[in-house]
């Protein structure tokens, strides 16, 4: 998913932009992994264990 940094975006009622505008690069916020994995990390939810 890719959004313009100046867009207003919510996903499932969760504010994405402008809240995470500081993560945008070259005017675009790119979410390159499953949304909730990305949100887990950017919202400070701690460890995300990964299968090995």
């Amino acid at each position: 998913m890719e959004f313009g940094a100046n867009d207003c975006v919510t996903v499932d009622g969760i504010e994405i932009l402008p809240k995470y505008r500081h993560l945008a690069v070259d005017g675009k916020l790119t979410i390159s992994k499953p949304f909730y994995q990305w949100y887990h990390q950017v919202s400070g939810q701690g460890w995300l264990l990964m299968p090995q």
Binding site: D12, P34, F35, Y36, Q37, H40, G44, Q45, G46, W47, L48, L49, M50, P51, Q52
Partner: protein, 409 residues
């Protein structure tokens, strides 16, 4: 995954005591085999949307808006209860959980080291305190001492260590006792983890009763990537001495200061661990007040279910109203708001987390049915214990004299 004090595996550290599995044992089944084979039916059951019978205590916690064990554990695999289906699909574990050929090794352990303990807390049980076990046997509460600790057998400890050595991706090992600091296997396992180089990536968690200090263990702990330290205290009122007998509050406070100083130097994460009962619920606020100014989080495993006569819900409504009033007043005087804090290991939101956790006790006291019919059982139990200990609850809780006397004290 959990290994309990007697060496039996359990699929969840949070499962209801009455519904926990008591087999198999590390003697006959390796940790890998239990995790990969024995736990597969539970995973399938959960994926099918069924609620195992052992999940009842977490359901009660969520009913009162207390963050439950299942919420905390699910978070570690990226699953959130309020968006269960979507977060499960998004979880890095979605396909792995579905597979019947599960080849993963545990990355997150609770290791119960045994019941070696120098304390005999009134709400505890012999399987978790050797001191209490001896006292209960002398008092005739039990006929036999509990089964031996699995960590008393060096072969079993070595077998367990061998599994850890093969688990290069271990994230977290949480140790409890008994009292961890006086349990020999704690040092043995920490040394083995360091020897295997796992200290560079693993975080150690453990709980201490704040009555002992061991420089050797501390030296080992400083070699780990992270340490989460749980410090047990019920209240900063003198009744803590009665409940966590025979600890003394000045010693507890002294050790609390020492751990905080060390944690600040080492960047360790601190928590205050409580087990609120009828005897301490009225002064529980002192713990949250202490934690607020120091930005330390407070955690309790669940709302106490056993012993049933010590549940906070045994307090009659007429006594609860004062506790609720003081808790609510404190919450109103310490305003903080935000989304529900699930990640209780984030010190940046400890005040919000504590605010929400204390609110769950207000909810519990307001909504739990009156169980004051259990008061006579409590009084009988305390009187027998006090005959052994030479103390009296009325010294510590004079405000409950009328209540206890009405129940036969």
């Amino acid at each position: 995954m959990r290994i309990n004090n007697t060496g039996h595996y359990e699929y969840c550290r949070w499962a209801d005591k009455s519904q926990r599995t008591h087999a198999p044992h590390i003697q006959s089944v390796s940790p890998q085999e239990f995790f990969q084979q024995h736990m597969t039916p539970i995973r399938q059951q959960l994926l099918a949307g069924d609620q195992p019978t052992g999940c009842g205590e977490c359901a009660v916690m969520e009913q009162h808006h207390k963050v439950s064990g299942r919420q905390k554990q699910l978070l570690k695999v990226g699953v959130r209860v309020e968006q269960f289906e979507k977060t499960l699909v998004s979880s890095p574990w979605a396909e792995t959980f579905k597979s019947t050929q599960f080849t993963q090794l545990p990355q997150d352990w609770q290791i119960d080291l045994g019941n070696y303990c120098n304390s005999a807390c009134v709400f505890c049980e012999p399987g978790s305190s050797s001191r209490l076990a001896i006292e209960w046997k002398q008092l005739g509460f039990i006929d036999q001492l509990p089964s031996p600790n699995w960590t008393d057998d060096p072969e079993l400890v070595n077998k367990f260590i061998h599994t850890l050595e093969q688990s290069s991706h271990i994230q977290y090992l949480h140790f409890i006792g008994g009292e961890t600091l006086i349990t020999p296997a704690f040092k043995t396992i920490l040394r083995a983890l360091i020897q295997a180089g796992l200290n560079r990536t693993a975080t150690i968690g453990f709980t201490t009763n704040l009555t002992v200090w061991d420089s050797q263990v501390i030296n080992l702990l400083t070699q780990f990537q992270g340490v989460n330290l749980g410090m047990s205290v019920e209240t900063f009122e003198i009744v803590n001495d009665y409940v966590r007998w025979p600890s003394k509050l000045p010693v507890v406070l002294e050790n609390l200061d020492r751990w905080q100083e060390l944690a600040a130097q080492q960047a360790w994460l601190l928590q205050l661990r409580t087990t609120p009962t009828l005897l301490t619920i009225s002064s529980l606020l002192s713990v949250y007040d202490y934690a607020w100014t120091r930005k330390i989080s407070v955690e309790s495993c669940n709302f106490l279910t056993e012993p049933a006569f010590m549940r906070p819900s045994v307090l009659p409504p007429s006594y609860r109203s004062s506790v609720i009033y003081h808790m609510q007043s404190w919450l109103d005087q310490h305003p903080v708001s935000g989304n529900t804090v699930l990640n209780i290991r984030d010190p940046n939101v400890s005040q919000l987390q504590n605010h929400q956790d204390l609110q769950s006790y207000v909810n519990y006291l307001k909504n739990m049915p009156d169980e004051s019919n259990r008061l006579p059982d409590l009084v009988i139990f305390l009187k027998r214990l006090e005959a052994s200990r030479g103390n009296s609850i009325l010294t510590y809780l004079p405000e409950y004299e009328e209540l206890f006397k009405s129940a036969g004290y």
